[in-house]
């Protein structure tokens, strides 16, 4: 249930840590796993830790940037075709560019399996784990 003003964790290494949803794309309902949204970066990751690995990455997004993102985890329970229900402890997303490719190169955190059905297998392969 991601909608206007929802704060999400950003789980890739693009430099954003907390983003705020400003729009849900292609549907009139709250977004769920696998939906594309527009976000504003609210909090950057600590620059020190980022610069220690790669300085280039830290500059990828900055506070106040408007970016597209794909929701990968939601608090709201989602039902699978076999009737099982999955829910996560937080709302999280991954930043993508206009073409739909992830901005970050690594992801830390699990993602929902619903991404597969919605053609986000690139994100799914980047993720260390999926449920």
């Amino acid at each position: 249930m991601i909608q206007l003003k929802t704060l999400l964790n950003c789980i890739d290494n693009s430099g954003a840590s907390v983003v705020e949803c400003v729009n849900v794309l292609k549907k009139k309902r709250p977004a769920t796993i696998g939906d594309r949204i527009v976000v504003v970066v609210q909090k950057q990751r600590a620059a020190g830790s980022e610069s220690s690995t790669t300085t280039a990455l830290a500059n990828k997004v900055r506070r106040g940037d408007i970016r597209h993102a794909v929701v990968v985890r939601v608090r709201k329970e989602s039902q699978r075709p076999d009737g099982s229900v999955v829910k996560f402890g937080d709302n999280a997303c991954v930043l993508v560019n206009k073409a739909g490719d992830p901005i970050g190169t690594r992801m830390n955190g699990i993602v929902g399996q619903e991404l597969r059905g919605k053609q986000w297998s690139k994100i799914l392969s980047l993720a260390p784990m999926h449920v």
Partner: protein
């Protein structure tokens, strides 16, 4: 005064009082025998028979009896609970030996899964999911259990249908260490009571199991 001209307006007791006949009322009346009904003449012409009131008609010509037909055999009586019947046929396909049912029937089976146990579920596609069992929902074919775990520092909850054909196996990794006083352990979502990750426990269980199987 011309008295004879004026007519007298009224007078008291000048005219003789008229005796009203007293109304007679008695409790008993004189009995008179009921009139005998005149019997029908035996030779009533046929065209008059239809005009007779029904009470005078003969039995055969009395009010027509409506014939009631018996109902066909009832399928409702044959199967009182169709929902249970459908569920039964489903279970006979999905769980022919009744093992899965016994595994989650925590009210009757003492060896079943209990809330608080740590479970490992393996799905048909090979993905496992581990977690603490928070609740078991017994609803026939829709029987499900709720597992909670923490994967990469994110709490994940999964409610799995016990009879889903996608569930390959359910293993009890560890029984609950303490006596649980309630059937729904939703307080384990609170930070104070959270069990956090059970991955380490399950990993050691798998190692143990492998070693055990290898020895054999």
């Amino acid at each position: 005064m011309a008295a004879p001209l004026v007519r007298q307006l009224g007078c008291l007791r000048l005219t003789p009082s008229i005796q009203q006949p007293a109304i007679r009322r008695c409790i008993s009346t004189i009995y008179s025998a009921r009139r005998e009904p005149t019997p029908l003449p035996s030779n009533v012409p046929e065209q008059f028979l239809s005009q007779l009131p029904t009470r005078l008609k003969k039995e055969a010509e009395g009010p027509k009896k409506i014939k009631i037909y018996p109902p066909p055999p009832s399928s409702r009586a044959a199967c009182k609970d169709p929902v249970a019947k459908v569920t039964e046929t489903q279970l006979s396909v999905l769980d022919p030996k009744g093992e899965r049912k016994a595994l989650f029937d925590y009210r009757r089976n003492p060896r079943s899964v209990k809330p608080g146990d740590i479970l490992r579920v393996t799905f048909k596609n090979g993905d496992p999911f581990n977690g603490v069992c928070l609740s078991i929902r017994l609803r026939g074919i829709d029987t499900s259990f709720l597992l909670r775990n923490e994967l990469m520092r994110v709490p994940v909850e999964m409610s799995v249908k016990a009879f889903s054909p996608n569930v390959k196996s359910v293993e009890i990794v560890q029984r609950s260490q303490i006596k649980r006083r309630r059937a729904r352990l939703f307080h384990m979502r609170d930070r104070k009571h959270d069990r956090r990750s059970v991955e380490n426990l399950v990993d050691s269980y798998i190692k143990q199991k492998r070693a055990f199987m290898g020895k054999r």
